[in-house]
Symmetry: C2
Subunit: 131 residues, 2 copies
DNA sequence: GACGAATATGCGGTTAATCGAATATTCGTC
DNA sequence: GACGAATATTCGATTAACCGCATATTCGTC
């Protein structure tokens, strides 16, 4: 049952925190790890689980892998992403992560050393239309 | 995080099947077990998990324990119960269980040997108003 | 093709979930 | 208070999830 796989994804705090961040826009692994304050291998493994359940999609950008929410999530997933968005206020972790993200994103955008910021900016523009 | 506990509940097929049945109305343990074709201790254990997550409530009726959906489920749970209802058509198990339930319920109602049928009928009438 | 940054995977250990089978509890009846 | 029906719990075993740590892979640069 595909649905169960989705629920299995959602019953881990780290994965919920990742989804919470991706609701704001795409991010690559290293920035997810930095924002969440967790080890990179841990993030990678959770991202793999999320991808396996069809929750996220990836795109290579040089040696970064950019993760974003799936463009066509199944019904259950879509519903729960909306739930997550509504729930942000009630959970301090989510709010905290979003603040961290905002700060880190600002820094990243200020750097013009590589092409990642440009691509992320593009993706953000796209996703803010669909979400 | 309370939400995670809810998701943990939802990522087991047996529990989803139980919730699917309870969406139609309250049932006691032995009938749940019979309809699902599973052992009674297994059902009891899953019901305990559901109760722990605030998904179901109980009521004693002689030596039966009647289980029903929680009157005030939290937001995430409520949303996913609606999802479950929408999803019934797509999952053969759910449809099959509902047919089994209908048949068994009809038989049970025909019996006038005990007070269980009467109470169940009452509860069904109530719940069909709220749901 | 060697190097470094970013990402992914393998491995061993620990904890949590689930199960079947047996047993305990609860409650009404006699 | 003994009995039986319905339900709940305990036990040991198996499986799955998660983690930290180390290592492998990928890809662009020099």
């Amino acid at each position: 049952m595909k649905t169960i796989q989705v629920y299995r994804c959602l019953c881990d705090e780290t994965r919920l925190r990742i989804l919470n961040l991706l609701l704001e826009g795409p991010l690559c692994v290293c920035h997810l790890a930095a924002v969440l304050g967790l080890e990179q291998p841990k993030i990678s493994r959770h991202l793999k689980a999320l991808k396996g359940a069809g929750a996220v999609e990836t795109e290579r950008c040089y040696n970064w892998t950019i993760y974003r929410l799936a463009a066509r999530p199944n019904a259950v997933l879509e519903t729960n992403l909306k739930c997550l968005q509504d729930m942000r206020g009630e959970e301090a972790v989510f709010a905290h992560d979003l603040r961290q993200r905002a700060r880190m994103f600002k820094e990243l955008m200020a750097e013009s050393c590589c092409e990642l910021p440009a691509r992320l900016r593009e993706l953000c523009r796209e996703s803010s239309q669909t979400v």
